[in-house]
């Protein structure tokens, strides 16, 4: 469940997937109503789908952690939400577990490095941002999975990282 606000539109929207009917078909719920959604095509730049029998083409333009710029059927729309993406990534990189012994902070998503927040030898606290990745036009912080000092930063600005690549070693 996620909460959304749309610029220039009254009210808030709560939205979630409530059923997966196949690879391309879902039942979603927005506020109290349920809708059928069929994906026709999708790539990182946009999606075409049929929502309750009605076709829509949506382009994903810009994306920060809490804001998304879309073009819905030629209409530009700005969406605000609380994504928790940083949290999801953080959790999956071991941040919420007891993986203190683990040396390597690994990327849980493929993406492009847009900024590196630390240098070799820096002290970091668990949860500090180590670098920011861009993936699917969205910026996501990769956070330290434990307290420690940066032994070595393995990535550079502008580099492409694959899922599982080591971002830094923290000891």
């Amino acid at each position: 469940m996620m909460d959304y606000k749309i610029k220039d539109v009254e009210g808030a929207f709560a939205g979630e997937i409530i059923k997966r009917l196949g690879d391309d078909e879902f039942t979603i719920k927005i506020n109290d109503a349920e809708y059928n959604l069929i994906i026709l095509s999708m790539d990182s730049g946009g999606i075409e789908f049929v929502l309750d029998r009605q076709y829509h083409r949506v382009k994903y333009l810009e994306h920060t952690t809490n804001q998304m710029e879309l073009v819905v059927d030629n209409v530009p729309v700005t969406l605000n939400m609380h994504t928790h993406f940083d949290g999801i990534v953080y959790k999956n990189s071991g941040g919420a577990s007891t993986g203190d012994a683990q040396l390597a902070l690994k990327s849980q998503i493929p993406g492009k490095v847009v900024s590196v927040a630390v240098s070799d030898g820096d002290e970091v606290k668990k949860g500090d941002t180590v670098c920011t990745l861009e993936s699917m036009k969205m910026q996501v912080a990769v956070k330290a999975h434990k307290d420690g000092s940066i032994k070595s930063v393995k990535i550079k600005d502008g580099a492409n990282v694959a899922k599982g690549d080591v971002i830094a070693e923290i000891e």
């Binding site: 391309d24 789908f49 209409v75």
Partner: protein, 495 residues
């Protein structure tokens, strides 16, 4: 006989001219600046020549360079399009001297049309009514007071050295006139060191109505009906239509006769446009002649069935007009929307850049003249007109609803466009009922209506936006989670 035409222009009008030449079997020579090497007019012409840098002065306005290409390419005629050199009588003269057939009026006639005072004098002589006022400069405040009382207040005092609202005053009585005369004189002397003032009647709630005129080299002249172009911003036309909702057939004929006289008064040849203001009481006042093909010529083509570029070429070839006035009949209704790259909410500031994707509308009686294609660019160096979208209908309502459907179908990625504004205008009750005036946008609060329409549209699209966001984040989660579960499909899609 014209066999090879150099088109001294770019964008949609260059393409427009090329199309007719192709159909007639006439060769075409395109010219292009650094900015336009990948433009459609370069691709469609028989030959293309690079003529210089992006800035118009270094390319499309460079007469010597264009003459050089005319001579080296062996072009026997030049089509100037609109803008750039199209109303430059020196360029027309240069072509005449080099025995190149300039597709337009003679340089002498063009020169006369370009001089507003002389042109007005010629019209008065021919009994074509112009905006009432002083026949020329007024020598002092007393003379201006006399004229103001003759033609009746309110009047405008205008410095001939003014422009863009500077050196111009609206006055309602003798007292205001005396004050204004002094301040306009002062302003003008301060700005350019001299002052020269004319008095003109101030017309309220005017419409811009123009007539397409055609005159051959043998002196045969006709008009090709009117176009109403009242919907404007900053004196630039946005939406045109023909017929005008306020021109009945008696008026069409009466003003049309004046237009023929006007073309004779300046010994005009080829196609041109006589522009009028129509005051709210139904009077027409000549304002000027546009000595070229107009942007909005397609709507006249739609209701007349004529190919105006072909007609231009035929006239330039010395052929007599193939019809008399009585042969010409209007058929149906046509509307043009000028699709500009501009931000309505930033006072129509130009919006430029790459256009990665574009969908051109189509359908019965829809015509779209454009230089856009997926991957094209809107250049900051030239005007903001990207496309001219025209629709025809048997009735006005049919042309209007077809236009709305076509506007809906028009997708231009990457730049702001005037499309949303046009949807608001075409749906307004004022437009539907033909309540047009040159201050239409302000008078009926169209920008505010547009704001509301955009909000409504966003509300309407809320569900789809939320759905797209949900799917996006679902994919994102599947990207992050370690379990491989069902997302092989997603991966294929996102690769």
């Amino acid at each position: 006989m014209i066999e090879k035409v150099l088109i001294a222009n770019r964008g949609e009008i260059a393409l427009r001219v090329i199309r007719t030449c192709q159909a007639l079997g006439i060769q075409t020579v395109a010219v292009y600046s650094d900015e336009d090497y990948n433009s459609l007019h370069v691709k469609k012409a028989t030959e293309a020549y690079h003529i210089g840098e992006a800035a118009p002065a270094k390319s499309y306005l460079n007469q010597e360079k264009i003459l050089e290409v005319m001579l080296s390419s062996g072009a026997d005629a030049v089509h100037p399009g609109y803008g750039f050199l199209s109303e430059n009588d020196e360029f027309a003269d240069l072509c005449e001297k080099n025995k190149i057939n300039f597709i337009g009026p003679t340089s002498a006639s063009m020169n006369l049309c370009g001089d507003k005072m002389e042109c007005k004098a010629a019209m008065l002589k021919a009994n074509v009514p112009t905006v009432p006022g002083s026949p020329g400069l007024v020598k002092d405040v007393e003379e201006s007071e006399k004229i103001a009382n003759d033609i009746g207040y309110p009047v405008l005092l205008k410095s001939v050295y003014g422009g863009g609202g500077r050196g111009i005053r609206l006055v309602n009585n003798d007292t205001e006139l005396h004050q204004a005369f002094e301040s306009v004189t002062g302003e003008s002397i301060a700005a350019v060191g001299k002052s020269a003032i004319i008095v003109e009647k101030f017309l309220q709630k005017t419409r811009h109505i123009e007539y397409q005129m055609a005159r051959d080299k043998h002196g045969n002249a006709v008009h090709l009906f009117e176009r109403e172009c009242s919907i404007q911003r900053r004196n630039q036309k946005l939406i045109e239509q023909t017929p005008s909702p306020v021109v009945d057939s008696e008026t069409r004929e009466r003003i049309g006769d004046l237009v023929v006289k006007a073309s004779e008064a300046v010994d005009y040849t080829n196609l041109g446009t006589a522009e009028f203001l129509r005051s709210d009481d139904g009077e027409f006042y000549f304002i000027e002649i546009n000595a070229r093909l107009q942007v909005e010529h397609p709507i006249t083509e739609m209701v007349s069935g004529l190919d105006l570029v072909k007609l231009q070429i035929d006239i330039a070839n010395g052929e007599p007009l193939p019809f008399k006035q009585s042969d010409l009949k209007m058929n149906g209704y046509a509307i043009e929307c000028r699709i500009n790259a501009e931000d309505t909410f930033l006072d129509f500031a130009p919006s430029t850049g790459p256009v990665p994707d574009v969908t051109i509308p189509a359908g019965p009686s829809v015509r779209c003249d454009t230089y856009l294609y997926p991957g094209s660019t809107v250049s900051p160096f030239y005007d903001s007109l990207m496309a001219k979208l025209c629709t025809w209908g048997q009735t006005f309502e049919e042309s209007r609803t077809r236009m709305l459907t076509a506007l809906d179908d028009f997708y231009i990625e990457g730049v702001e466009t005037s499309i949303p504004l046009y949807k608001t205008i075409l749906q307004s009750k004022e437009y539907k009922s033909g309540q047009l005036s040159t201050d239409f946008l302000k008078r009926y609060g169209m920008i505010e209506k547009l704001e509301q329409d955009l909000k409504d549209e966003k509300s309407e699209k809320s569900k789809a936006a939320i759905a797209a966001a949900i799917i996006h984040s679902e994919y994102f989660k599947s990207l992050v989670q370690n379990r491989q579960q069902n997302n092989s499909n997603w991966k294929n899609r996102m690769s």
